[in-house]
């Protein structure tokens, strides 16, 4: 469904992505893990066209989208839920969801809204509340819900668990799995929370300094001692309360 070949991009004089190639097959959850600053977010942003790819190609569903303007991607079936949620703070939850369906046929709106609300029933009571007044967890749910409003075939999720309480993190990962199963949405997930992410992914890539250094199924990487050392056990991050 998505094929990236030798992609290079960056900001100014700094080249962040140094030739990335990866594939995401239809219907799977692919995960990209890596340390902060490895270029994971830059990869997703380059997919969306900002910064522009300097080299290489991005093919989505057989169509070259390397130079497609950002605002046309959603019409092709790609939804990007960026890092930091990016809720429109002074718009209501409903308006945020409406904007999620901005590029779509209005007659699907009611159905899509229903689906988003079944995933995130907490949002229902907050429809008239401004996005900026939601808690971090609710904002993340709204961000994902908004991304789903365009009925994407490919969902790009950037650090959905960042800055969330442990309880909420679990809920977010459960939902990701649910979206993938229920809607057959292909998902490309970028996560620091390597452990949780690898558990639910079909395929995973490890990114170091702008290049892919390791790939395999989620289970393979989960068991890989290098990965464990670098992204899980080395730190205290996964020390769950005992």
């Amino acid at each position: 469904m998505l094929e990236i070949r030798d992609l290079r991009s960056g900001y100014g004089l700094i080249e962040v992505l140094q030739g990335i190639s990866l594939r995401v097959e239809t219907g799977e959850i692919a995960t990209l893990i890596g340390a902060n600053g490895a270029g994971k977010t830059t990869l997703l942003m380059t997919l969306s066209g900002q910064p522009r790819a300097r080299n290489g190609s991005i093919v989505f569903d057989g169509k070259d989208i390397t130079h497609t303007p950002m605002h046309n991607l959603v019409r092709l079936g790609i939804a990007h839920v960026p890092e930091g949620r990016h809720i429109f703070p002074r718009m209501t939850v409903l308006e945020n969801l409406q904007l999620g369906a901005f590029a779509c046929d209005p007659k699907n709106f009611a159905d899509d809204l229903d689906f988003a609300l079944t995933l995130f029933p907490q949002l229902e009571s907050r429809m008239a509340q401004r996005g900026g007044t939601l808690s971090g967890g609710e904002q993340q749910m709204l961000a994902i819900g908004r991304g789903l409003m365009s009925r994407p075939r490919l969902l790009l999720l950037d650090e959905p668990s960042l800055g969330l309480a442990p309880l909420i993190v679990r809920q977010v990962f459960d939902t990701i799995r649910l979206i993938n199963r229920e809607r057959k949405t292909t998902i490309l997930l970028v996560e620091q929370n390597a452990f949780q992410a690898l558990k639910l992914s079909d395929k995973a890539y490890v990114m170091v300094n702008g290049a892919i250094t390791l790939s395999g199924t989620g289970a393979e990487l989960l068991g890989n001692s290098e990965v464990q050392a670098a992204y899980m056990e080395g730190g205290l991050a996964q020390t769950v309360p005992a």
Binding site: N36, A165, P166, L167, I168, R170, A230, G235
Partner: protein, 270 residues
Amino acid sequence: MTQPVLDVSNLSMRFGGLAAIDNLSFTARGDHITAIIGPNGAGKTTVFNCLTGFYRPTGGSVRVTHDNGKQFQLERMAGFEIARKARVLRTFQNIRLFAGMTALENLLVAQHTELMRASWYSVAGLLGLKPYEKATRTAMERARYWLDRVGLTAQANNPAGSLSYGLQRKLEIARAMCANPVFLCLDEPAAGLNPREDQELVEILLELKREHNIAIILIEHDMGVVMHISDHIVVLDHGACIADGTPAEIRANEKVIKAYLGQDDSEEDG
């Protein structure tokens, strides 16, 4: 000589009708690392903003006592006075460095008050007089020391904004240290750090406590870090304190598990 103490009593902060903090009381001891944890939106950052003068609390008081017995009522002081006199310094959740200035300059700005005085409000500085030159040297020494401590010496002349995320976090802590704190408030210092950087952060914090007698108050979601280093944990939910105790007590607390940590999943998750 007594320990410095930070006393929060009956602190309240309302925005319009919404109570972000509701009658909160806790005490942070000078020889402790105190962690404030709780779900998103529980009011943790608001507490910090009240401690450091960015918000004026709608009720209650925050009192800091230094080891020489001097007392400060923070809720009555302007933000810059809190940093200058009560010496409560902070870092920010979304890093606030002087991005266009070099790492070294960031640390010199933190010593502004002393340098300003030494430069006789710029007069001595303009004339290049001795006392100012001496103060500058001292300030450079201190900056160099902290750059060394956080491993930033090689990047001292690089703009702060060009540093990696992890280094920026460390620089922010070093900058606060240059301002000579008694209490250091860290707002999610481990957010966005990778495990190796987490480890380094923990070492730095323990060192601050041990060797520099800095009282640390931190907000953190990373339970690994929190449980590992804190002496005392305050758990907030909906602006109120639901638990207060040692890490072991907090871990076992039913209310905390329900509101924040979730069911113990260690066996399921490995």
